[in-house]
Symmetry: D2
Subunit: 389 residues, 4 copies
């Protein structure tokens, strides 16, 4: 159980974006600052520089370390002996690649929002730079820090489901069921291919589904895939506000996935079902503290977080204990902790640790973009089957 | 509210199949005998003639009206002045066509299990005979008699969902997750194309999903469809124990559907979600007495059966009243009542009534088979898009 | 599994009350007529004699066997060679005693609504008559026919809960949250002590809780009890629309119970929790097809009706089979079947069968009235503890 | 919506208890350190001084500010110019009074676990000291920071429920269903009156129910009360592991409450139902992000946290936003923030702010102890009604 004890030296941390008008910035800070593993020392929080500075001061950053943009941040911070070590990027998608490269080249670790970049080629380029520089790139797939996600991965690993047959994924909501006449800035950039990249909901929410399924089923690879996408609000074209994806895995398993932001009134967020020859698991982010374990012919079992019958690996990352609810902030805290542990290992040159350490890094980010590329290739060819590559 | 009062003369009713070793026969009798609309007068209940006769007597049929097979039933009953008027067929799929034709030609109304026949051509042939003879063919889509199914249809009709955008359907269970080594007879014929027809789960459970969606969305037609099917237990090939279907509707809506009998441990039966531009409805057969009505931006509303705020049409078919649960038997009772009303109208020559009367008849049965034909055509061509025809 | 087969000769059955304006009459008919165990041959369905006759004819009773009242019914039916054998009483509480006695004295079996009578003394008097005449008195505690109620009783009997410690019962709704200005006739008689007896909600819904708890925990007896009752709508005084009852059982267990008809908006009907030293069971009539079995320190287990892992006794009374919902009508059908089996045994003189046969009879009805007497005695003394007697 | 911005100067904060072997200490740190409102500068974390020092260092406290006990902490810290300002007490109940008094007399604000002290007299004494010194005493009723608790309070305040009639409270679990043979230290002190005070579960979990009901229903006062308590594990006597409490409020409302730690297998934690003449609210800590709002005669409404239709006061304290789960840590963060705001106001002499500011302070702690005193008085007199005083 996590109680905040740590041997890792506190990381000097900065943020790009995540200011007053954004929503995700607070999740980054909630995750990073939970146990003092990170210390927020600087940032370029806002396109409106003065508003960004005021904001930074209000959250405890020294005024002179609230910068106009990432370039100024690099210039000033790399000149300090106590300069920032790792920076989180919580800006629109189209800026991720440029900013990440700049930070890596300046010798700083990076934590970036998903979808990571626009293309796999960009991911590969960044991966090479990071490797060459000995730096970590973390990707904030923020839902995968829940203990019961680890529990699912462990149960699959131990063979409790048998051979995996079916992967059923859904992440839908209705917050974009209306048109974008009064859309916020955060909404506007998401439906413009120049700022959002080649997808809207596939990248915005679908990548969460895909990464979590990879965490639970690391041994499964997609052979081929079919993606059917559509913009129910035509101004969002050529991007999509709704998509279905069918997947054939290399072991013969079948996957299907539904993402939508026009699923009017749906408040159930995301949902995962993993079916094996012996048993199934079902989990939803809406009620993350319980997990349904269903063995054919037996009573359905509801597992609760924090209980001794869970795997040791599950309880090792529990924070609140049985009967006490964990929320998304607890999951983000685990994600940020795991990235910190990766940075610490990288600093120490402990590649053995990194080989087995689970955290959403450049590989995870790359695979998410690869999945999106395949989806778009299928969809744009008329929702046809494409070999996954 | 239904209280059993009726002006329809009691129908003399018989059954083919549905004996001691079957499960579905009891559902037919529960539906038919609920309010005395039908009187069970004869049957050929079992391939084992003596067992069938003993069974018939135990459920109140005269010994001499327990017949060896449908042919004897026709011969003897049509010779009686008080002979049977309508017969239900609860035998394996491959017998439906032959038996239905024989009954119609003998001047008897028919109520048949789904999937109705193997081909649309057979359906068309039967339809012509029925029309020529002035007889009704009912199909026991037994889940569509629940009051809240009617409520969904009425809400869609009144425009409360806006334009329909998404149709999300699922009917999965895990009772065939293991292989068929110890399969019952009822299971064996279902996985043999000679006895089951061109599909297993698509026909066995998928047609329920499709018909219910037609009841709720009568104005939507499928333009094209893609079906991906698979037998996780290879001995079931070329039939499937798992399938996904994507559908494009003529109004631009998107549909997706999942059927499986290898969804290990899943006890949630079937589930329907209808998403419109304004609101969504979600209903499941597992908890048929409540309906989730979700308007984007408003609290989720849970509607309960039997309440005054429901549509008049909904409460007109309620049997138990608010707070008192209805089950599948109540739904079957409505289906059988509606078919009786159709038979009664046909007898009276009341075609005006029949035009607007909702009941699962030959058209519903035909459309189910048509949908299966399209699914198989797509699947067998490699899970490609096919124009619906 | 029940499939309608029976060796019991069909009982000639009549009803007092239960006509067009009542709600409960249809539940009686649904229960009795399900499998042809009873045949409805006569009735006095309505205080409005003509309406009652029209109603009777519409539900299939011969016009000349639709009587003006129970006295005429007795006079005419006992004069027939094929006269009625058993009569159900679905009239207001204050009439139960008089009508029951009259039927018993005329040699007819009786099935009566709960609460049975006003006093234990009346119950004892009726019991003596029934015993002397060799007749059965059934009481329609209609919720106790659900298979999972039997499952709870069997699990307790087998010691799976350990020593019973806590009994937690609730049956509340809000249909009387407003005052009675526009109350229906059915509501008016319930809040008048002359017609309802010494209680309103305690008798109307609380007796269901108490009887079901007796079925599950037959070995527990109440030592003492405290009842606090109140009429939130003052015109209902001295009767109550809300009450809480605390109970001490003879084994040291503690019970608490809440009944209310002013629990605004509550649609969850009744709920039962039985806690033992090893495990607990929780079941609700709202979702009668599943049962929560909770062993401390293990995952919560959800049991579904119709599954092979249930007790044989449970599946013996299942009607629809796994995955197919049962509703209140199925439970009533079991109750009526069990009463028919009791009548049949009584006719055959099979007292051995009657000793172990579970059905809600005169003892159950008496114990319900006894419990009400103790509740009222406590409440009227100022909600103090009273020894149960 | 809370995003971490603050104008309050960071408070220098210390802890007594809450070390490696405790569970609640991490909840305090999660709450206090969330947004940098507090800075942990010192502590006496453990009776095992060395283990406490190692722990303190691991969570970022300077080694020389990890003290042996609260006395040393006071001595050393009050001598520093940058000494601690506020201290949290997470030690067994019997130490609360002595330590709180010592800190107040040393001029430090205090945040203390519940139940606050053993007697109302102790509470009054502490209140006087705090007032004289101009210091705040906060009490960590950690569940009352959830946004939907605020929503309930606002809806009651606006009259959306009408007159309150029924208060139904439950906090039960089964973690003490077995005996205490292998009990942890944390468990042992809780069942010993010397260390736990006059109650076990009533104080340990019942006070949470009571305080939350006060937050939602501040206008209701208890007139009289009856408490029935029992130790199912006899070694816990004279304390209780199970209790029921009946309450009469001054407006005529009725309350009932159930607390237990022998409710085997129950994982639903606490549950609240507030019933008014118009509508009801139901909320549970197990699923804190949704609230059931039930108006009689209307569909049940499920409200979700973070949605625009909630009260402004509710959304003002939301942290994660709609669709993103909040957990117990988010609630504690609000509690600690509110106490910080109280301390800040006290420092500024802003008594007007303090008059309307909701936070669990000395009054809340006192009322909890008063409620326990009344419960014990009733229970020990034989579970009789007592006037609340």
């Amino acid at each position: 159980m996590i109680n905040g004890e740590s041997k890792i030296a506190r990381l000097r941390w900065g943020m790009i974006g995540g200011g007053r008008t954004g929503q995700v910035g607070y999740k980054h800070r909630t995750g990073a600052l939970r146990d003092g593993t990170y210390q927020l020392v600087c940032g370029a929080f806002d396109l409106d520089v003065e508003r960004g500075r005021e904001f930074g001061v209000n959250i405890g950053v020294a005024s002179d370390r609230c910068y106009a943009d990432y370039k100024e941040l690099i210039a000033k911070e790399t000149a300090r002996p106590d300069g920032v070590e790792v920076v989180s990027i919580a800006t629109p998608n189209f800026t991720h690649f440029e900013i990440t490269k700049a930070f890596l080249e300046a010798g700083l670790h990076v934590i970036c929002e998903k979808p990571l970049f626009f293309t796999v080629a960009e991911c590969e380029e960044v991966r090479k730079i990071a490797e060459a520089k000995g730096l970590i790139v973390g990707v904030t797939y923020g839902f995968t820090g829940h203990p019961l996600v680890e529990q699912m991965a462990m149960m699959v690993k131990k063979g409790m489901l048998g051979d995996i047959r079916i992967v059923d994924l859904q992440y839908t909501h209705g917050f974009n069921a209306g048109d974008d006449t009064n859309a916020s800035e955060a909404q506007k950039w998401r439906t413009n291919p120049k700022t959002s990249g080649p997808t809207f909901v596939l990248g915005d929410i679908g990548t969460h589904l895909y990464y979590l399924s990879e965490v639970v089923l690391p041994h499964l690879k997609i052979d081929k895939l079919l993606c059917d996408r559509k913009a129910f609000i035509p101004t969002r074209e050529p991007l999509e506000d709704h998509a279905t994806v069918l997947m054939h895995y290399d072991n013969g398993a079948r996957g299907h996935l539904w993402v939508s932001s026009v699923d009017a009134g749906n408040m159930r967020s995301h949902r995962y079902r993993f079916v094996g020859s012996k048993a199934s698991l079902e989990w939803t982010d809406s009620f993350p503290n319980q997990l349904s374990y269903e063995v054919q012919g037996e009573p359905v079992k509801i597992l609760h977080h924090g209980m001794p019958y869970l795997e040791d690996e599950t309880n090792a990352i529990d924070r609140m204990g049985a009967l006490h609810t964990e929320g998304l902030g607890d999951s983000w805290a685990n994600i940020y902790l795991w990235i910190a542990q990766a940075i610490d290992a990288k600093k120490r040159g402990d590649e053995a640790f990194l080989k087995t350490h689970r955290y959403p890094g450049i590989e995870a980010g790359t695979e998410g973009v690869r999945w999106l590329e395949n989806c778009v290739r299928s969809a744009d060819a008329g929702a046809v089957w494409v070999d996954f590559k």
